[in-house]
């Protein structure tokens, strides 16, 4: 059976840098308090009218360039986002057009913060099954438009940022996607969700009462989520390494993806990972959900922290609740 590998990686962050100072007045706290509460000092916001597919176009062009491929070489798009350009159709369709791909399939997947891992696993399976040869996995989020600018959101809004990254997954005899582990457990998923619009709400999916109560903004109980995130990220690291039969010391870099970088680092410590080989993805540009891991991957490659042939372990935990891990040889 054909194996798959990451052939190229690229990322794109919007140019508008948003500091905690800028958020402080609306959120009714000082910049120091916001940073202390969330662990996130800086994030980037897309300009009005810019959607995930726009950010993903630039990231995808970079990934294709790194792989030495053209948009027409792609025979499948897998797009992961929890913040689509519009309600429907999905952002993958917009990307197909904006990038100038052939009329190939564009699968729009939703697995929230673990979206990259789910999308990568999907691409890997298409390549292994011989159903696709070169898959563009695009991940992008524009969270900024779903964030409330009010004191009650002071522990939520500073965490999130906008951004995109993409990888090209292609057939290769030497496996690059070495092991993948995915999990979901819906228990207490309301600890991190966004309720409205809610099609299940009869007779109308959006109401004045929901709007007034702010139920169309992200709701997050980070304190309640923390122990579960920490345990799951530690456990899934062990699980993916065990599946690949690779010890911790052979892995060049661990990308740990969670909306609180301090929890990500605590999970890494609990898993026995050396701190100098851990990247808490949210430290780069806040929590960018589906895009956080590939942004960190592209940065690590660009900075020379990862070299060809290195092993990198990526883990994520987030809304759904969904989490997982993947071991890659880059």
């Amino acid at each position: 059976m054909q194996a798959s590998a990451v052939l190229g990686c690229g990322r794109h962050l919007p140019s508008r840098k948003v500091t905690s100072d800028e958020l402080a007045r609306d959120l009714g706290a000082t910049a120091a308090e916001l940073t202390e509460r969330t662990g996130i000092p800086v994030r980037y916001y897309a300009e009005p009218g810019i959607g995930p597919s726009d950010l993903a176009r630039d990231a995808s062009a970079a990934a294709l360039g790194a792989a030495g491929l053209a948009p027409t070489d792609v025979d499948l798009i897998v797009f992961a986002t929890m913040t689509p350009d519009i309600a429907f159709p999905g952002s993958g369709c917009f990307l197909q057009h904006k990038l100038g791909c052939d009329t190939v399939g564009a699968i729009d997947v939703r697995a929230q913060c673990a979206g990259f891992l789910f999308a990568l696993a999907t691409a890997d399976r298409f390549v292994r099954a011989g159903s696709a040869r070169r898959v563009l996995v695009a991940c992008a989020e524009v969270h900024s438009t779903a964030l409330e600018r009010a004191p009650r959101a002071a522990a939520i809004t500073p965490r999130f940022g906008d951004g995109a990254a993409a990888v090209i997954v292609g057939a290769r005899s030497e496996p690059g996607v070495i092991a993948t582990v995915l999990h979901s457990d819906p228990s207490d998923l309301e600890q991190w969700w966004c309720e409205f619009p809610a099609s299940r709400h009869h007779p109308a999916r959006m109401t004045r009462a929901a709007l007034e109560a702010g139920r169309h903004y992200y709701q997050l109980d980070a304190d309640a989520l923390r122990p579960r995130a920490e345990a799951a990220l530690a456990d899934v690291t062990a699980e993916v390494l065990e599946r690949a039969d690779v010890p911790v010391d052979r892995v060049a870099l661990f990308l740990v993806h969670y909306l609180d970088p301090r929890v990500a680092r605590a999970a890494a410590a609990r898993a026995g990972l050396p701190a100098e080989r851990v990247v808490a993805t949210a430290e780069i540009a806040g929590h960018v959900a589906a895009a956080g891991i590939p942004i960190a991957l592209a940065d690590a490659l660009a900075a020379g922290r990862l070299r060809t042939g290195d092993l990198v372990c990526c883990t994520a935990f987030g809304a759904g609740i969904s989490w997982g891990g993947v071991l890659l040889r880059v």
Binding site: P48, I86, H97, T103
Partner: protein
């Protein structure tokens, strides 16, 4: 099971569920200026189902899924992957697959939404097929579920779109098939985002802040409601449907004469009829049930396939083609031997 034993994936069991509340064309004439004759002439639809109280696609989907699991003889806890297709999610975040997982009382296995509108079921079939054939999963549950009724402008302003859609869910359990002559032969996926805005719901949009406003609740032309350039969509549908059906047949060395049954996504009876005519397919080789359910987007194909099986129209050994076209634009076809 070693991977070499799995040649194809196969649909092992099906289920579907429609809400009990029937809404006839005459019922719609009480809230908008329309008529039974106008709706039937353009779409073939006589009635559709709407939920009558708070109900999610994951609720309808769970009923369909339990039937599909029972028919397949697979326990929910033995599923390796759960996929849900919808364009009318229960909540904004997370996806419906999480709520379906909760409703089925299972945990641990990965769940994921596949958001490909009217082509959603076939897109999910392609994902499930690749996981199974590559040894990444043994049993995959695939559910298409929609609650359209809470997002339709049920007034004269919105009538052109509102009369078309209905609520419902359909489910399939897929598993490995060692016999190369049986199961899913191939799934063909396409998209063309150039036409994304010809059939869409714009709000909530992450490009716009705030994503939802008070104006949207009042505005008769609200961006919360679906918009469709009907004639445009129709024209592309009657081109892409036959094209992708022929692609699936040709990829497997078959011609239209070999086909025992075509199940098109139930978008509009007039589209299905024109596609059948263009392909020279006699009426008995095309299955339609849009007359009773309207367009249930991601749910329409599994609902129709299950009814066709129940009615004895899909016999063992039958060559079956599933095909879809819709918002995106996306379109797709799957060819399988029952």
């Amino acid at each position: 099971m070693t991977m070499s034993e799995t040649v194809n994936s196969r649909i092992l069991g099906l289920g579907h569920y429609l809400p009990e509340r029937v809404v006839t064309n005459d019922d719609l004439t009480h809230v908008m200026d329309t008529s039974d004759e106008w709706i039937q002439q353009r779409t073939g639809i006589r009635e559709r189902r709407f939920i009558a109280r708070d109900t999610g696609g994951a609720d309808l989907g769970a009923v369909a899924a339990r039937d599909a699991l029972a028919a397949a003889g697979v326990k929910a806890a033995d599923l390796d992957l759960l996929l849900v297709g919808t364009l009318s999610p229960d909540v904004d975040v997370p996806g419906n697959a999480s709520f379906l997982q909760r409703n089925l009382g299972i945990r641990g296995m990965p769940v994921m939404d596949v958001r490909n509108q009217c082509s959603g079921f076939l897109y999910m079939l392609a994902v499930a097929d690749s996981f199974i054939r590559s040894g990444g999963a043994r049993y995959v549950l695939v559910v298409g579920a929609e609650i359209h009724s809470t997002g339709l402008d049920l007034s004269t302003v919105g009538r052109e779109v509102a009369v078309i859609f209905g609520d419902g869910a359909g489910a399939a359990v897929l598993g490995p098939e060692p016999d190369p002559r049986r199961g899913i032969f191939s799934v063909h996926l396409h998209s063309e985002g150039r036409y994304a805005e010809k059939l869409m719901v714009e709000a909530p949009s992450s490009k716009v802040s705030p994503r939802v406003t008070e104006d949207m609740l009042e505005d008769p032309g609200s961006r919360l409601w679906p918009r469709m350039e009907g004639r445009y969509v129709f024209k592309h549908a009657v081109t892409r449907f036959p094209e992708v059906i022929q692609e699936a047949l040709a990829a497997n060395g078959h011609t239209i004469a070999d086909l025992d049954l075509l199940i098109p996504h139930q978008a509009n009876l007039r589209i299905s009829q024109m596609v059948a005519m263009g392909l020279d397919l006699p009426e008995e080789k095309v299955f339609n049930n849009i007359q009773r359910y309207g367009n249930t987007t991601a749910a329409s194909i599994p609902i129709a396939l299950h009814e066709a099986v129940e009615q004895g129209r899909v016999k063992p050994g039958a060559l079956v083609c599933l095909a879809a076209f819709g918002a995106g634009f996306t379109w797709a076809a799957a060819l399988m031997r029952w």
